[in-house]
């Protein structure tokens, strides 16, 4: 039996609008052990919202409701905003999709990493500097000293994303939520960033929630996959068995991909079945 780091039961995310309440996430339950859990789905399926809701990053008027979101048996929803700040970054951290929007454009990269480290650890500046260099080396950045002095716009997309990962891992969190960490990157760089993340997760025994729309990537990289559609989990499966998935939505997504080894004249177009969004959410708990 694997120990559970995180346990989410019946999570809802709602946004009141003029046309009534919009449910972005509708009653999702899952648990996370020391594993790599993938969440896949199209845009608008609620996968990013699930990740954000765990860290309580959804701002008003958005509403997060759940029976519980337990981190080591403690309900995150019962914490005050101040207590949450001690959770974010230190215990659960998140890598966002686009490094261009998640780094401060007017501060050097070094200052930002040092700030992230010193916020969680009471150390001297020089110690934090050494730690930052060590972290940049850990994510395979050559010439770390120059990068420390550089500004975000001087970095390529792949470098920026690796810097984000370094920054998120520096407080040594137990859980890392990665929201489309590689979709802004090239295939060749993608592989590199994933390998780095994989190594760090294994080495430190972290839990990883990997949010992506790329089915092949998730099948390759994760241990277990949740497939989301219209705010609900429609299927849960082992990642290496994703290609044998049964749900017609998952099958439709898989078949709509062009493949090098099986060329076709026309790609299959997903035919949406209203029953998919009506069916109750499948539990992703172990």
């Amino acid at each position: 039996m694997m120990e559970n780091l995180l346990d989410v039961e019946n999570l809802w995310v709602k946004f009141p609008t003029r046309q009534g309440v919009f449910d972005a996430v509708r009653g999702v339950s899952f648990s996370l052990g020391r594993e790599r859990l993938g969440i896949v789905g199209e845009s608008g399926s609620g996968k990013s919202m699930t990740g954000r809701a765990i860290l309580r990053l959804i701002r008003s008027p958005g509403i997060v409701a759940a029976d519980h979101i337990n981190l080591d048996g403690v309900d995150l929803l019962k914490k005050t905003e101040k207590e949450m700040r001690a959770v974010r970054g230190r215990r659960i951290s998140m890598v966002m999709q686009d490094p261009k929007f998640s780094l401060n454009p007017v501060t050097t990269i070094g200052d930002q990493i040092i700030e992230a480290y010193r916020l969680h650890n009471k150390t001297s500046k020089s110690e934090a500097y050494a730690k930052a260099i060590e972290m940049l080396n850990a994510v395979s950045i050559r010439d770390a000293e120059r990068v420390m002095r550089a500004y975000p716009h001087e970095m390529s997309g792949g470098m920026g994303q690796r810097i984000m990962i370094a920054m998120m891992l520096i407080p040594n969190p137990e859980i890392l939520i990665a929201d489309e960490p590689t979709s802004a990157l090239d295939v060749s760089v993608q592989r590199q960033v994933l390998d780095i993340m994989d190594g760090l997760v294994k080495e430190r025994g972290m839990g990883l929630i990997f949010i992506s729309h790329d089915l092949n990537l998730v099948a390759d990289f994760c241990d277990r996959v949740l497939i989301m559609y219209a705010g609900r989990i429609v299927e849960v499966c082992e990642a290496n068995k994703l290609h044998e998935a049964k749900h017609s939505y998952t099958r439709g997504l898989l078949n709509s991909l062009p493949r090098l080894d099986a060329p076709r004249d026309r790609l299959e177009v997903l035919k949406r079945d209203p029953a998919w969004s009506e069916a109750p959410s499948v539990s992703g708990r172990v």
């Binding site: 991909l257 090098l260 076709r264 790609l267």
Partner: protein
């Protein structure tokens, strides 16, 4: 007959110390009715080639020939009737305060078409959108619908060569399949020639007849799709790219 011929194309940005050679001595040609792919990582200069052809990257040297006419610095009006481009991000390439009708109507007007009203209707039908989308604004459309509008706009002057700059990389896989099918249909219907840029080898493998692999501004290999499907790349970088995308 070749639709497009590129000979010794160099494209650069900046001057003196800051000069960056984005494309170095590119040579390839695209036959009439062919679909040609350009692949490579970001910064390899694949989009820059498209931009040099359309005139969006003004600093270039070498020879670009479209339908047997060599291009000069100033493009004639007929050029824009022959060559059109579809951009990567449908969220950024449509004017946020122009309705679909205005976008298509303006393009048709600039190219001197008559019966604009009937043509707008025809264009929307061609890309599978239909009448009810005619007076909508971009924010009322999904990503896939926006990309269809962008394709309709490119088709408006009845071009022969369509330049596609990562037309589906901002879209979901399910929507990507719809757009790729649409592009394949349109190519057959209008006898179009495609020059398509993508970082996704399987998309290029599906859409194109031949492709060029680029690295650091240079074309390292040109091969046909059958060779790609058999994984027969000769250049080490092309092999590496193939391996990464499986």
């Amino acid at each position: 007959m070749n639709m497009l011929e590129i000979e010794n194309l160099d494209v650069w940005f900046g001057t003196a110390r800051n000069r960056v050679e984005a494309v170095k001595a590119a040579i390839f040609d695209v036959a009439q009715g062919e679909s040609f792919g350009l692949v490579g990582e970001s910064g390899s200069g694949k989009s820059t080639i498209l931009r040099a052809i359309t005139g969006l990257a003004p600093n270039w040297s070498g020879r670009i020939t479209v339908q047997q006419t060599a291009l000069t610095k100033k493009r004639p009006k007929a050029f824009f009737k022959t060559v059109q481009m579809v951009f990567q991000d449908p969220y950024a390439s449509l004017h946020p305060r122009h309705s679909v009708d205005q976008v298509l109507g303006e393009t048709l007007h600039l190219h001197g078409f008559k019966q604009i009203d009937a043509r707008v209707v025809k264009l929307l039908d061609d890309v599978g959108l239909g009448q009810k989308f005619r007076f909508r604004y971009p924010h009322q459309l999904s990503g896939g619908q926006r990309q269809r509008v962008a394709i309709a706009r490119a088709l408006a002057p009845e071009p022969a060569l369509l330049l596609l700059d990562e037309p589906t990389s901002a879209l979901d896989v399910s929507v990507q399949a719809e757009i790729l099918n649409l592009l394949a249909d349109l190519r057959q219907e209008h006898k179009l020639t495609y020059l398509m840029v993508s970082h996704d080898l399987s998309v290029v493998g599906h859409m194109c007849d031949r492709l060029a692999v680029m690295k650091d501004g240079e074309i390292v290999e040109i091969m046909d799709v059958a060779a790609l499907q058999r994984m027969e790349a000769t250049h080490p970088y092309a092999q590496h790219l193939l391996q990464a995308s499986i």
